[in-house]
Structures are given as C-alpha cells and as structure tokens.
Amino acid sequence: MDKWITAVLYGFSSGAILFLVSLALSIGYGLMRVVNMEAMLYYSFGAYATYVVVSQTGSFILGAIVAMAIGALLGLLVETQLLRRLYHRKMMFTMVATYSTFLVGIGIIQMVWGLQPKPVSSPTTAIITILGANIPLYRLLVIATAIVAYILIQTMLNKTIIGRAIQAGVENRDNVQALGININKIFTGTFVVASAFAGLGGALNAPLIMVGPYMGFDMLLLAFITVIVGGLGSIKGTALSAILIGQVISVGGTIWGPLAYVAPFIAMFIVILVKPTGLMGVKSAAY
C-alpha cells in the first residue's frame, strides 16, 4: 500500500517539474506560434547555475533564485534576438532554428562544464511519513512550488488587464497596438516569466538527478509529450497533462520498471488518437 502512495506522490513531484519546464514551450507557442525547442536550455542552465551556486555557497535557495534569473535572462535574449525574427516564418523554419539554438547551447554547456555529470545535494533530507509511506520533504516542497507557480500564472493571465491584453494580442497583435498598448513588451515579459519558471524547474530537479549536458534532451522529450497531450498553448492543459505524465511515469515504473520509459508514449498515442489537438487544445489557442 505505502509503495503506491510513494509512487503517486513521486508522480506529483515529477509532474510539478514537468509543468514548470513545459510552461515555456506552451506559452511560447500560445503567444508567438513558435515551437521554441530552445526552452530546454533555460532548464539546463538553471540546473547548472544551481550546481555552481550550491557548490560555492551551499545555499540552495540562492541557487534557485540565480537559476530563475539565468532562465529569465536567456529567455529575454532569445525572445528579442531570435524569436522576434521567426514570428511570420514557416513552422519548419522556426523549429529548425530553435532546435539549432538548443544544440549551440548544449555545445556551450559542454565547453564550460564538460561531459561529466555533476551532483547537487538536496537542501533538506528530512523524511515525512504519510499514511505509512516515507516521503522526502523535498519532493513535497517541489509540488508546493509548482502549485504556487500555477496559481501565479493563471491569475496573471485571467484576472489582470495585462492578461486580457495578452488574450487579445494572441487573437490580433496589430489591433492591440492600434489601441496604444505596447504588446511586444507584454509578450516579452510573459515569455521571460515562463523562462524563469523553466530555470526554476532546472534548479528543483538538480538534486533529484545528475546535472549533465544532455539533461535538456531527456526533458525535451517529456516536455514535448506534456504539451502534445495537454494541447499546445493551453496552460490548464499543460498542468493537467504534466500531472498525468508524472503519474504515468511513476506509477507505471512501480508496476514494471521499463514502463516508466514507455508509458508516457503510450499515454500520448492514446490521447492523440482520441483527440488530435490534445486534452485542452483548441484551434486558436487563447488561454
């Protein structure tokens, strides 16, 4: 019994990280119709930033903050220098461009930190017993962080006038500008927020895995699956499917080891067959 409770809670924590990381993919597509594969760089660089800060100062919190800052900075750089040029290009073009940016980033990581994976120690090793199952406190903190992030971003998009401007801008950029609103700035801001969350995802995942140059690749695939299942451009869909995929990995892996790898793909194929646009995907994605 406790085995299953552990599996479910681990699933939620994997889902939490998946959500934080996939947000950048989902928002990038929702705002700009660009599948921004380089989003995984914010995640990787976030993790490496945490590694550096934790090994220098020992403070994980500081590491996470630096990771968010690095993610935001990279997001700002990429959005203003690259994605702006891709708005009206063909999907094929944008995908290849962002993917090669991703490769360049991986190359830089290799040059700076080498191929050897780096360990990051967990900020807390406390264990909590829930219904007889032993759960590391750290995993619960990860889940809590993701929930806060979800509430923040949903409030921003649905309750504020900025969110309304974003919604309108997704429908028609020019008409929002014609009202006198600087929509580019708002979009860039939103994208930077999403990038910061991806950086945070890297920081949170660092103690759970080894920080290596190819961690972005592994996460890219899971993030792909998450946004495909959730529906590109939908925040609620991304959150739902991140939880689903997290559970499928964790519970599936508990049932039979190899399922942890295969189950997400199976889940994706099923969803795609039933609803080709994903759980929450709509034709013109507005949140």
Binding site: I161, R164, D174, A178, L179
Partner: protein
Amino acid sequence: MGTIISTKGVVKQFAAFKAVAGVDLDVEENETLAIIGPNGAGKTTFLNILTGLYIPEAGRVYFRGKDVTNQKPEARVASGVLRTFQIVQVFDNLTVFENMALSYYRKKEKSSMPVNMFFVNFYKSIDIAKAVDETLALFDITSARETQVGNLSLGLKKKLEIAMSWIADPDVLILDEPFAGIGDQEIDEILTIMQRIQHKKTIILVEHKVSKLGGIVDKLAVMHDGKLIAVGPFEETMNDPTVRESYWKISCDENDTAGSANIQNILKGNVTFDGAAEEKSGAVKRELLKVENLDVGYGQLKVVFDVSLNVNQGEIVMLAGRNGAGKTTLFRTICGFLPKMNGKVSFNGEDISALEAFKVAQKGIKYIHQDKTVFRSLTVRQNFELSSYATKDKDLEEVLPYFPKLRVLMDRKAEALSGGERQMLLMAMALLGKPPLVLMDEPTEGLAPHVIEDLVSIFQQLKTKTTLFIVEQNLPLVARVADRVYSMKEGKIVAETTDRAEICNLTFERYL
C-alpha cells in the same frame, strides 16, 4: 433538364450561432443562380455545405437526386461539383501550368492512386498540354503559363482559380465572390467568360457586387440571417417586399416608385443626395495630419509612391481607390505598422514617421482595421476595458450615446456580434479617450445597406467630436459624407476634390 443540386432544410451551427438556419433550394440544370446577402448571412457557409467542407447538423443535400450530405469534398469533385473560394486558393509554389494540370489530370484519370501518379509526367504529356493550353487561351492567361503562381496578381490568381475548376469540366461550378478585390476590367473579363459558358453549365455564385450580375443571372436568391428570404428571377427578387425590407431596408410604406428608383440607383451606383446643405466655415482650418512625399514598399516592391496629403481638424476626408491601389498600405504606414522608405508623416507638426504603432496610437491617432476584428473571446465590456487601459479614459458615457445599440450588448461575447455591431464597437473603442484623429479602413465593406445608413449618420454626428480619415470604395457614400476626397491609383494620389457633384456623377471614377 431538371434539378441538379438541391438542399432540404440544411442547418449549420457554430456554437450558439446558427450560420445556416434551414435552407431549401433547388437549382435547375444549366441555370445561373446568384446568392446575395450581407456579410454573415451564411452564404459561404451554405456553399461549404454544398461542396462538402461542412456536414450540416440537420437537412440533406442532393446531387442529381442522390443524397450526398455526408460525401467528402473530393467525392463531390469526382461527380462534377467544383468550386472557387472567396479568398483565392491556388498553389503558390507551383507554376500556372502545374496548377491546371493537377486539376485536369484528376478529372481525366478517375484515379488518384499514388502509384499511377508516379508514372505520369506532366511536362511530357501532350494530352495534358493541349487541354491546359486551350483553357489558358480561353481565360486569356497563356502568357503566364510558366510563371510561379505566387508571383501573379490577385486578378490573375482569381482567373486561374476559375480556370482550374473549368478545366475539370464541371457539371456544377460554384464561385464564391469571384469579383471581390479585383478591378472593373478584370470583372468584365470574367463576366465575358461566364457569358460564354452560361446555359452550358450550372453556375452558382455568391457575390456582393449586385450591379454586375444583371446580365448573366437567371435566378437570384437572397440570404439573410441564415435563411433564404427570396428566390426567383433577378428583377422580381430585387423588388420583392421582404428583400427590400430586410436587406435594403427600404420601407414598403414609401411611394412604390420611389423605392423602386432607389434600388435602381443602388444597382447603377447612383445616389440620391442628402437634403442638408454642407456648412462651409470660412475660418482657416488647422492642419492635423500631414504626409509629405511618402514612399512605402515591401522589400524590393514599392507600393506607395511619393504621396503627399493633409487632413485638417474637423474634416471628414476620404481616400478612394481600387483594391491594390496602396490605400491600406498608406494607412498602415501612417499608423506605424509599416516602415516608410522615404518621406515624412507629421501629426500636429510633430514628425511621427519613425514611431512604433502603439506610440502613434498614444499620440491620438486611432486606426480601425479593415477586417473588423474585435477581440472575439472577450465581452464587449472587456473590449472597452482594454481600450481604456491604454488611454486611461474609463468614461464610456462619452461614446455610448453615439452607439445606443451597444448598451444592450455590453456583456455579450464579441464573437457573437454582427458585422455592423462589430464595426460600431470598434469605432466606440477607438473614440474612447477623445482621439483627435481616427483612421478607418473600409468601414462599410460587406455590410447590409441599412447598416451602412446607420454608420453614415454616426459619421455625421462625429464630425464635431473628432476628425475622420476614411478609406472607402463606395463612391456614392463618399459623395454623401466626405468634405474632401483623395483618389489613389497604383500607389499614387491622382486627384483631390471637394466637389460632390464630381464624385457623384462618377466622373471621379475615371481617376480610379
């Protein structure tokens, strides 16, 4: 002879909105039927049902007596129903010849097995070349045979699209707004071709330019709010009381001959004058917007050449000209959406030609886009909120008196508004914050005549409040509303006049 295609009570719904609400229509073999009606009446949706793009929620579609309601588009093509689209649909990356060959090949072969297609070489088949060349000659586009379609003008693309349907030897040819966006000369060319094939094929067309239809149409159908309100011979339908009431909004209580004359005038493009005489103030007018020697282009291609004009405070200035004359490009440049090549745009004496679009708007130049796109997913109130966020002016009472209809619609989603209501919302949003200048791009396009009447009276009321600069192609309307008119042709300003009679008697049209 006999009925070739018919519908029985077809219904097509988008969310809560019934685009087509039960249409019965029988089309006889070899007749030409035109469907008219305001934008949003459901005409295109109806065509999409006829051609299989949409499957109706209720009702049946019959072709030669056979139920084809659930048949896919490609199956209907195989049985001889071909169509063109409102927004021209051709293959930009292929040559004219290849576009034509694809259509001809499919019809001739009756097989689209990939294996068979692999062995057919378009460029070597004498059979295909002969058929394509004949059709290209008929449509007078032979000279473009080897051109990549992406490089063609809109008029040529329209002709090509019709030719592509024609070469497949259709039984029923369906044309969705064949005249939209092309010049009179090209319209006449297409009309000539249509006359040649008239009574040899069944033709169904949707069109706004009613004045062009008289000569070729056997039967006219009028659609309104998803329903057919009249079907019959051309003249008879035009004078049908229901049609006049709901489409032209000409009351039947009026003297009958006057009403009839009015329709004749609309058909011919003539107008009746408004009684009120224009007030001419002797005071010197203050220059609000000044455009000097403006050149604009996309990449290598220049579309606006050396344009100079000015708009004075309190005026209604209109800019007339055909599609493709560069009017929209000019407007978008003034508003900062496009970069200029040379020249200067100044507003209140300040150079604004390098400003970004949102800054131009903040200066007080509001721009209303041609396509009437409100923010669909927001309510009317939220649309207003967005506008007041930018201008910091929350007082809706400033603008609502001009648009009483909007009051009752405040909490409705903007996607549920009609074309006229959308235009009013856009105008009201633009007027929040008392902008000194409002630019409107074709505000009346696609609206029913009675809605246009409402807009005209709003324009006239707004005169005391702001300055209007409007792109408009409807010359009779221009003549009634404008203080001054510029005419644009091929990217240049070719005429300027304040003389209503000149515009009205269509002598102005020679500049267009």
